[in-house]
Every structure is written in C-alpha cells, then in structure tokens.
Amino acid sequence: MAEKRAIELLEAKIQELRELNKMEEIDMSSEIARLAEKLEALKIDTYSNLSDWERVKIARHPERPYALDYIDKIFTDFYELHGDRLIGDDRALLVGLAQLQGKPVVLLAQQKGRSTEENKQRYFGMPRPQGYRKAKRIMALAERFSFPLISLIDTPGAYPGLEAEEFNIGGAIANNLLAMAKLPTPTIAVIIGEGGSGGALAVGVADRVLMLENATYSVISPEGASAILWKDKGKTRQAAQALNLTAEHLLKLGVVDEVIPEPLGGAHKDPQKTVASLKEVLIRHFAEVCNTPLEELLSARYKRYRSFGCYRTLSDR
C-alpha cells in the first residue's frame, strides 16, 4: 500500500521537526501541528476502511503486543505455573496466578515468540496437548480457590503434529470445553490477536468474550478456507471476507460482547494506548462478573453457549 509508505514518511518528518524544535531557537510548532493534522487525515483514510484480510495481517503483525505485554502492564505479581503434571510443559500457552485490581486471578495466556529462537520454543504460539492440559489443571485450582479466570487468546491454532495427535490433542481440547462450561468461577476471555479455531476456543468458553478491534477469530484460517473451498491458495482475501472473522462481525453475531478499540493502524502503532483501552474494558467486565452471583453467571453462560447458531425451521422453507 502506497498510503502506508506515505504515513511512515510523514511520521518520520514530524519526528525530525520535533527534534529540531527542541534544539534550535526557531519555533516550528505550527508546522508540526499542520503536518500532524495531515497525518491524522491520511491515517483515517488509510486505516478506517481496512479490509478483513488487512485486519488478518494486523492481527498477525510481528510487532503486535503479545499476551505477556498485556500481563506486564495490566496485572501485577504474575506468578507463572508450569507443567501439566502428566507429560510436559508448553511455552505457547502460559498459565499462572496474578493480581488484577488487588484480586487474585488465574491467567491463561497464549504467547507467540518475537525471535526465531523464541518461536521455536513457543511453537509459533500453537499450543500442544501439554498446554491445554496445563490449562485444565489450573482451572481446577481456580475452582478450588474461587479465583476468577482470565484468558488471553492469540494463536494460529492448536499445534498440528504427530506428537500432538499421539497425545490426543482433540480430546484435550474437548475436555477443556467441558471444563470451562462448568467452571464455577467468573471467566473472561480476551482475543488479543489471532483466535485460531479450536485451539483458541479451548481456552475461550467464558462469561465474557472481549476482542481487540483488529483481532480475528475464525473456524479456519483464510489460507485453509481458500485451499479447501476454492482449491486455490490465493483466495485468502476473499476467504477472510467470507469468514466474518473480524471483531465487528463477531460482535454482531453475538460471539463477542465488546470490541476494544485499537489505535489507527493497529495495536502495534501505539501499544501503550492499546494496553490502556484493553485495561479499561477488562476491568469494567471484571467488576461486573465478580459482582454477579455465581449461579447467575453459570446459568447465563449456559444460555449463551446453548443458544449459539442460526438455522431456519423447515416451515420457513
């Protein structure tokens, strides 16, 4: 996109002028203000009509804030717990205790790597059965001590591999769905990046599902859908559009309760601002669920999931 290049150039220019402004006698603030205005207009032009496929790319942007970036800034005292007590530990799905607003919570966090080395360890953010079962173990802890549970979702999907199949990854996901359906404690899921199919849902059944503006959540990746439905790997843009995988669509479909705004151009353009938005929304919902009687939460959770779907009665035909 030519617009993106123009935005970058303009940003650089403004930065230069700001530096000059500090160092020299000459006052350039009116020039800076004018340029900033232009930049804003250009950004709105460029970003406010992002296609779904462009949002997919933003959701996957390598500089996008990852789970630990939010945990760092929104929670205190994150105390990671390791291991499923069965097979191993998984670095793509972290679990632990933390404080939110002075209250202890259990965190589930899908975490991608920044470097190649880190991505190797974290399997590019694709959890294995070890991760899902670690999550299930920590749900039991949440239940025993009535800790609310908060999931941060950001995964291309569960890890596809021989070992994962040997360790029954499908069964691991299924059992998490069941566990989260019943978990007698308030639960919130936040989709912060990629919500990759069953691999995301396995930690995403909750009383509140929140979603960043440019995050995606889908039954299949646009690449996958393109290959299967169009028998053509290149139809990712159309597939993304067809899948209704953006926050806006998901809000309309009732899958998501609230969309958390991102800075123009995406969360990575201003991580601090993104963190602040997410924190505000999360804390509001957190207070709500914590103040709702558990029976009510569970019954509402049941109704929410029981009612998903859209079909016609045959007399409509």
Partner: protein, 279 residues
C-alpha cells in the same frame, strides 16, 4: 474444518449408467457385487471385507432393533447467516446436499431400541457436506441430549464428520462449545453417553462432542484425529506412521476405549448399554 475431499472417502462409486442397477463394483477388490447382498451385509464387501460408506439411514438400520426407530430430529435446516459464498453460494450447497441425501442436514436424531434398550441416537451422514457440523448439527445434537435427559435415556452419537462447517464460520466453531455445555448437563444427570467414531471423526467434531463419551467405541477402519495428514505434512514435514489416525493408532494412544468390527457394533452397543440401564 471440513478438510477432506469427499471423493477420497466415497469408496462406493457407482457407475452412472448402472446407478439404478442391481450391481455395484467394489473399489477395493474390483468385484462386481449384487447390491442387495452388500446392503444386507452392512455395506461390507462380501469378497474382500472392505467397508463401504453407510448413509445415516443405513447406519441406523445396522445398529438398532428392526422397526424401533422414530425420527425425532428438530424440523430445522441451515440458514445462511454469513451470506457465505465460495465457488457457489452456501444455500446452493445445502440444496444440492439435501437433494443428494434426502436429508435436511448431516445428522438424524431419533429414538430407538438396541437389544430392547431404549436410547436417543444421533447419526451423522458424511455425504452431506462432509458430515460437517454447523448450526443445525450442533442444535440437533443438543436436542438429542436434551431428549435423553427428559426421558432418562442413554445417548448415542455416531460420528462421521470432517469437522466444523466452514460456511457458517464462527457459528460452526461455537457448536463445539454448545454441544459441550449440554454434554455437561447430561453428565450431571448421570446419563451415559456412548460415542461411536467412524470414518472419519476428525477436527472440530473429534475435538469436542465425539471425544466426550463416557465410553468411546471406534468402528474398525475409522479415521480419528484432529489435524489431517495433509495439514501436518504441509506445516511440519514430519514423517507420519502408516497407521496415523487409524483406529489402531487411537487405541494404542489411549484416546478411545474399544474398536469393533461393523458387524459387531450393534452387539457392542448392547453389551455396554446393559451396564448403565437397570432392566
């Protein structure tokens, strides 16, 4: 995700010319077989033992006491919430599948008796868009479990599905959660759920309701798993064992309880049901 090409699995291939005829050719051994004989033999080739696909209705016939079936499916069919269009519009796919199968969607729910034990049974039909789970299948499975709860019957689900139905997007994904929350209620009521996995039980169906049986029985020759061979080969370039995602792989790795030959599946079900039903 319905990631399988249908033609790869449709092992019974009828010559267009002889479609209405009395004979069919076995894809496995090449023999010409009298169709009625195959049908009476649970759609197993009498020459080589190859299992041909069972439609949902054939499956029901082969599992339950004769004449005991009542269709209690909800009278619903797929909507098109996303106005989904790939190479064709979704409603057209639905209509074609309905015409091909005579079914409203990829599952039938019914009351039936197995060796005299009354159950609610759900049976998927792979011919209907790869047995994929969209809103209708999710709703029917929940409806089946709720009927089981209402009448205090065991619930049996026979899966044959490539996974979630892409054309309903996120709503298909949500069926995994939806069936799980109702499955939790079935468990609270201490009603048994026997999951039968047939060829194929994969992706979103294997990663939700099908794996949540109190007892999980695979039909011999089933395919069971989450990520298909192609996906793994594509992503990871790993060498996969020859029995990858077969019934024997699943049994060896502890994800199912038993494997049964098709001709014994009814007996298998009646054997296991007897433990859960006081007669």
């Amino acid at each position: 995700m319905a990631i399988f090409k249908e033609k790869h699995y449709l092992r019974v291939k009828l010559d267009k010319e002889t479609d209405e005829s009395l004979w069919m050719q076995c894809k496995s051994c090449g023999e010409l077989v009298f169709k009625r004989r195959v049908r009476e033999n649970n759609n197993i080739c009498p020459y080589c033992g190859e299992y041909f696909f069972l439609t949902a209705k054939e499956r029901i016939e082969s599992l339950i006491d004769e004449g005991s079936f009542t269709d209690i499916s909800k009278p619903i069919m797929a909507a098109d919430p996303l106005l989904f269009q790939d190479t064709k519009p979704y409603p057209q796919r639905i209509e074609e599948a309905q015409q091909k199968t005579g079914l409203a969607d990829a599952i039938i729910i019914g009351n039936a008796a197995i060796s005299g034990i009354v159950v609610v049974v759900g049976v998927m039909d792979f011919r209907f868009i790869g047995g994929s789970m969209g809103s209708v299948m999710g709703e029917q499975i929940c409806h089946g479990m709720e009927e089981a709860i209402r009448n205090h019957y065991p619930f049996i689900l026979v899966s044959s599905s490539g996974g979630a139905r892409i054309q309903e997007g996120i709503l298909s994904l949500m069926q995994m959660a939806k069936t799980s929350v109702v499955r939790a209620r079935l468990a609270e009521q201490r009603l048994p759920f026997i999951s039968v996995m047939t060829y194929p039980t994969t992706a979103g169906v294997q990663a939700s309701i099908a794996s949540l049986g109190d007892v999980i029985i695979a039909e011999k020759g089933a395919m069971i798993g989450f990520a298909g061979r192609r996906v793994i080969k594509g992503t990871i370039a790993e060498e996969l064992p020859p029995n990858y995602q077969t019934d024997s792989f699943a049994l060896e790795h502890g994800s199912i309880d038993r494997v049964a030959n098709r001709e014994y599946l009814r007996e298998e079900l009646s054997n296991v049901l007897r433990f859960f039903v006081r007669q």
